[in-house]
């Protein structure tokens, strides 16, 4: 794999900008008051060893990024690996840093990670993404940082304090989030694939089905969430069975229904184009050999369309993970509950705490699904470009 130095250079620039011009952390005497920003200079003041190490690392990174060709120097190729530890180490340092002069209640005071820190983080990831085995490197960086947080090694970080406050709720909401975003896709699978098949078989219905399904995608999620409240409330009030099933105007049910409708489009549209890109000759010969429609669907159409359908499912999953946030507004739970709670309490760190899992979930699920998709495409023995089939 060729190393891409552009990414390294852009990443390095971001990181240096972050360290020099932006605060790495903000020290807050309590949760709400305006904090005291700490930049790189303030952080290194009086710590000669740390300053030397930081200078050394930045210099190495600069040499690394300015090369024209892959260097033979083992040390230089190790730079991206070394950088993996930087975000985690910065957390440790920031957690123990205090502004000069001042007496703080350490039980209440906290250190928020600020724009500079996140820029450094992004820069390092970008630099690593261009290096050989970029995926492994980036995962390592993220894992180390998560470990520092998760094992409580940086107890004075605001992120950690917020996490400890809501630990039980955090895991519950995480589960809720995953359940909502994945289960709704699972429920949409069968109708989505069936609708795609109907689109493939009946030209006349195609426009109507795709048009309707598209409507759900176009409609603002929030307005759908609001609108679905009305019939659901009516149903649960008037039909006891519905209420017993736990279907109510607010909470899990409406969020689940809307998310299901929302992911119909990618699944249906991809199923349709998946079925449609199967060569007519293949379907014709299946028909001519005396396969029934059902046999053709099961043995020919479906396996051949599977990679494309799967890429639709991937799209549905990743978009659902993000959309599930809105469930937080109607009592459906999920990380949205934390994000909106953080927003309304002006607690930026809580918002970040809610956002990180969402981004990670989306990226991980996307990567896993992509891997499966590639395997599937290989197995199906076809080399069509699944990229084009997405919506």
């Amino acid at each position: 794999m060729k190393e891409t130095f552009l990414k390294a250079r852009v990443g390095l620039t971001l990181g240096v900008l972050g360290i020099v011009f932006l605060p790495l952390g903000t020290f807050r005497p309590n949760r709400v008051v305006r904090g005291i920003p700490l930049d790189g200079e303030a952080l290194l003041e009086g710590r000669i060893l740390l300053a030397l190490a930081a200078t050394g690392l930045v210099t190495a990174a600069v040499i690394y990024a300015l090369r024209e060709r892959e260097g033979k120097l083992f040390l230089l190729n190790g730079v991206p690996w070394m950088l993996s530890f930087v975000p985690g180490l910065l957390m440790l340092i920031l957690s123990s840093a205090r502004p000069v002069g001042g007496n703080f209640d350490l039980e209440v005071a906290r250190m928020s990670l600020s724009s500079g820190y996140w820029l450094v983080f992004a820069g390092i990831l970008m630099l690593q993404s261009g290096a050989p085995r970029g995926g492994v490197l980036m995962s390592l960086t993220v894992l180390i940082s998560l470990a520092v947080l998760g094992f409580g090694l940086a107890p004075h970080l605001a992120l950690y304090k917020e996490f400890m406050n809501i630990e039980v709720a955090f895991y519950a909401e995480l589960r809720r989030h995953l359940t909502l975003s994945l289960a709704s896709v699972v429920v949409a699978l069968l109708p989505g694939i069936l609708l795609g098949y109907i689109c493939h078989r009946h030209q006349r219905l195609r426009e109507w089905i795709l048009g309707t399904v598209n409507l759900f995608q176009v409609a603002p999620t929030l307005s759908l969430l609001g609108l679905i409240m009305i019939p659901l409330t009516f149903l649960s009030r008037n039909i006891p069975l519905v209420a017993e099933l736990g279907i109510r105007g607010v909470g899990f049910a409406p969020a689940f229904i809307i998310l299901t409708l929302y992911c119909l489009l990618p699944i249906t549209a991809n199923a349709f184009s998946g079925f449609d890109q199967v060569e007519t000759a293949v379907v014709d010969s299946a028909l001519a050999m005396g396969m029934t429609r059902r046999q053709i669907f099961r043995q020919v159409l479906f396996p051949l369309a599977l990679p494309v359908i799967f890429s639709g499912i991937r799209t549905a999953v990743t978009q659902n993970v993000g959309n599930t946030i809105l469930a937080g507004l109607i009592g459906g739970g999920g990380m949205g509950a934390l994000i909106f709670l953080g927003l309304s309490q002006s607690a930026t760190d809580l918002v970040i705490l809610g956002t990180i899992p969402v981004v990670l979930m989306a990226l991980i699920l996307d990567a896993v699904f992509k891997l499966v998709e590639e395997r599937m495409t290989q197995r199906a023995g076809v080399t069509h470009d699944t990229l084009d089939a997405g919506i």
Partner: protein, 276 residues
């Protein structure tokens, strides 16, 4: 309950009930008060923390005389009666802290402009001096909220003098006020909001008593009350002990100091002998 007060009360109720052998499921962060109310009516939760003044929203057809809500006792009685009859919901003893909606301004701003009451503030606004209020949509669009204030004190805010947030949580509004974000110089505040002192804010007095009285009280479903009749007795002393000052103090610990609501609740209950 997305606010500190709800979390504290919620955790307290859970701890008290658990300590007395009643098993509970913690749904404290379930949703906004209005969503909780629906969930209670639908039987999805059994006990919520609610505010007496909210009765005006639940029974709009029976609450035409708004003055009912300005008195703590009549408001509580009417809500309790209507809820018992129509929904079989039981209002238990409320705390004696009025968590009503008022307007807060910075201390220096008040002193500079000699503002003590809403009348002073209305005069200031009507003089065309710079004013910007941050508040919730629920307050801005309520005839017993900002619309009521405007009528009672005879002033009118333009759209550009308002920042309306959809959430009803005052923490971010007070922060915006204390930091002067977007030139905000007034904010919605709840009676029990803590740490106004720390943030150097004061509440503007409201002689006309525009907003309803909001006393926090546990609301229990009738069927559950039949199974656990002891709940009422268990919660009564706790809620009676909570006056305005106590609640402000506890709220400040959670919303401003960022302490865990469960820990704050636990400490308070133990300190006052409700828990061992």
């Amino acid at each position: 309950m997305l606010d500190s007060e709800g979390s504290i009360f919620g955790k307290m109720i859970i701890q008290i009930l658990n300590a007395n052998g009643i098993e509970t499921v913690d749904k404290v962060n379930f949703g906004t008060p209005d969503i909780l109310r629906k969930a209670l009516e639908n039987g999805e939760v059994d006990l919520v923390l609610d505010y007496t003044g909210s009765g005006q929203y639940y029974h709009p057809e029976d609450a035409t005389d708004t003055s009912i809500w300005n008195d703590p006792q009549t408001g509580y009685d009417l809500t309790a009666k209507l809820d018992k009859e129509k929904m079989n919901l039981l209002w238990l003893t409320p705390a004696s802290a009025n968590n009503t909606e008022m307007i807060a301004i910075k201390r220096e701003f008040a002193e500079e402009n000699g503002i003590v009451t809403m009348e002073d503030l209305a005069g200031y606004i009507n003089a065309g001096k710079p004013f910007k209020l941050i508040c919730s949509a629920g307050f801005a669009e309520n005839t017993m909220g900002l619309l009521g204030y405007e009528e009672a004190y005879n002033f009118k805010l333009r759209d550009d003098q308002l920042i309306i947030l959809s959430s009803g949580n005052t923490a971010e509004m007070l922060k915006a006020l204390s930091e002067g974000t977007n030139e905000v110089n007034a904010s919605l505040v709840y009676g029990t909001d803590g740490a106004l002192d720390k943030m150097n804010l004061i509440v503007v007095e409201d002689p006309a008593q525009v907003p309803p009285v909001y006393l926090p009280a546990p609301v229990l479903r009738g069927e559950v009350a039949e199974v656990y009749p002891q709940i009422e007795g268990l919660l009564k002393p706790v809620f009676e002990s909570m006056d305005l000052e106590t609640l402000q103090k506890l709220n400040a610990q959670v919303a401003y100091d960022g302490k865990d609501a469960a820990a704050v609740a636990d400490a308070y209950l133990k300190e006052n002998g409700f828990l061992k």
